[in-house]
Symmetry: C2
Subunit: 367 residues, 2 copies
């Protein structure tokens, strides 16, 4: 029997029923009309990994009317970035390319610092710096992309304070499942998060922002939408695009930090090969013979999922792989080898861009 579903911003357990989640959270499925608008964008968008939204139709309408729109998506830097962390940023970049709009990227070093008992202040700052290099390397537009770190661009506190006044401890507690023994930074953090999401409106005035975010983070979006319309602000309710969870290499629902469950953006080519071969959860059969006879299941195969969501842009090639794997023509080893090749090509390029990014910090960091 499957474990009971449990999805909150701080834990995801059991098999996830995304339809039920959408119903429970009161979000909307992405309509056929919206699909048309994103059918040439990043695989994560056009292959339905982003499956739900709040008011993204209004965001598109706003854009069509020539109004200013923007994207905001953040990063909590508690470690070096891995493939799973890329998801919202690849989507943000794709949307920026398509709609030529501003992207705001808050780096919540404070969040991770509050929540992770053993993360030191110095280490939090170090991860921030490193993660920012990865983000710039993704190719966001300079002059239209603003990265800001809570512990560096501390002006954000001014905005967070205004929001904090309108969030009760009860609300914060409910969102985080806070306990009385948790620290007061943690309890304050929802205000900071809402300040991030509303930052484009604080800075640029009235316009719609969309937040690409995993569905488990929706409670923050709801809270922020409620706060946005408080008379103190009279902001527009920010929109959201909700994703499913990218599985860890091992097939676990969410990427975790245990060895072998993730591929870091700074991993060597050898490392990637080793990890995929050793850890990647396969939808194939236990022997080559059996696989030839019965075929594999791409829908639970992690290498295939990685190709589908991120690393194989070519729809035709992806279809061929799917068909061949399902029929048994393509073996697990071959699928893994192809995935390793694609990931390594991406990482080789990314690591080169990281070196260039180190010289571009000034162009992206909010003053």
């Amino acid at each position: 029997m499957a474990k009971e579903q449990k999805v909150t911003p701080w834990e995801v357990e059991g098999e996830v029923d995304y339809e039920r989640l959408t119903r429970e959270f009161g979000t909307s499925f992405i309509s056929e009309k919206i699909k048309k608008r994103i059918e040439k964008l990043h695989p994560l968008l056009r292959r339905e990994f982003y499956f739900s939204h709040r008011d993204f139709d209004k965001w598109l309408e706003s854009y069509d009317k020539g109004k200013k729109v923007s994207i905001i998506t953040g990063r909590g830097p508690s470690e070096k970035m891995h493939v799973g962390h890329l998801v919202p940023f690849l989507v943000a970049k794709s949307l920026q390319d398509e709609f030529n709009c501003e992207v705001f990227i808050p780096i919540s070093d404070d969040e991770k610092f509050y929540i992770k008992e053993n993360l030191t202040f110095e280490k939090a700052l170090e991860y921030s710096k490193d993660n920012i290099i990865d983000l710039i390397a993704l190719g966001f537009k300079p002059g239209k992309t603003f990265i800001f770190e809570d512990f560096v661009y501390t002006d954000i506190y001014k905005f967070a304070a205004r929001i904090a006044k309108r969030i009760t401890y009860s609300e914060s507690k409910a969102i985080f499942g806070l306990k009385p023994e948790n620290n007061i930074g943690w309890g304050f953090y929802p205000a900071m998060q809402a300040a991030h999401i509303l930052f484009p409106q604080f800075m640029r005035g009235s316009h719609l922002s969309v937040v690409p975010v995993a569905i488990d983070q929706d409670p923050f979006i709801r809270l922020t939408r409620d706060v946005a319309v408080h008379p103190d602000f009279n902001f527009m309710k920010p929109c959201a695009l909700h994703s499913k969870f990218l599985p860890a290499l091992t097939g676990a629902v969410k990427m975790s930090s245990s060895e072998g469950s993730q591929i870091f953006l700074t991993d060597s080519q050898e490392e990637v090969k080793r990890k995929i071969n050793k850890y990647a959860f396969s939808g194939g059969q236990s022997t080559a013979e059996e696989h030839r006879r019965l075929g594999g299941n791409p829908d639970i195969d992690v290498p295939y999922q990685y190709l589908k969501m991120i690393f194989e842009d070519d729809d035709k090639k992806l279809k061929n792989i799917r068909d061949d794997y399902k029929s048994g023509k393509m073996l697990t080893g071959e699928l893994k080898a192809y995935t390793i090749e694609k990931i390594n090509a991406f990482l080789k390029e990314h690591q080169k861009k990281r070196e260039l990014a180190k010289k571009q910090l000034e162009k992206f960091l909010m003053k």
Copy 2:
């Protein structure tokens, strides 16, 4: 029967038994040895309005050994400053003059903004600016006095965050008597307050700071002393000097904000005269005849208390007034007239200095 004593950082009720408070809070009375060191300082110090302390003896020792010491005292700007607000600053200035040390003055516009439901963000900033002018006008030494406003010098958030990690919601709740429906800014504020008190050590490294503070604020001092020695910081425990409560004009235990209970630093000479005559609680008798016969009680007379604590520096004159009032030789009207004259002389000078202070902001504001 007197109301039961209740003293917490957010309310003072009933008649205050300072001896009991000192026992309950576990602070120390100011010793004869310490008294010797402050017997020529501001009346508030030498006339025992400051009656209790934590480690102020160590602060003096440190100074004597040639070590760096400093003073820190803040202001929560929720209105224009009145006479009661002067207390810790007059003491800080007197200590600075005597010990030639640095003074740090945090302006907690965020605190008041969180706590006062109807105080807008803009108004909080406006009061801050106005209050800062009053503080500079008191004559602190430029180059040795650092004023910083939480909503302007937002770098303070970095320090507050490090402290917030080490304060639980339970602790914050206990100090403030927080309820679940209170906002999360309020719950976070103890971290900001502790960051203010530890700011000299964050900025200047290891040395002792003393905080002149009303005794009801001691729970913050205790909390900060506990946090200071956490391995994250390894700071020295800040020292404190505790004052009694300066009564409102009407004689109420603490200055409140109702009309007539206070004299603002920007009040006109006429206004002062009117308020003292109309509202000031008198220790005199109901008729002049009775007063001549029975004498007045200076210990409950508010004009006398104001003279004693702030406005009459001359010990001999003060003694004469006390004797004459007690014997009935000096009438209530005469005592009030003298007090009005002294307060107005102070305010006239202060208001002139306020104009000069407006041009000196840059010399005092922390960058």
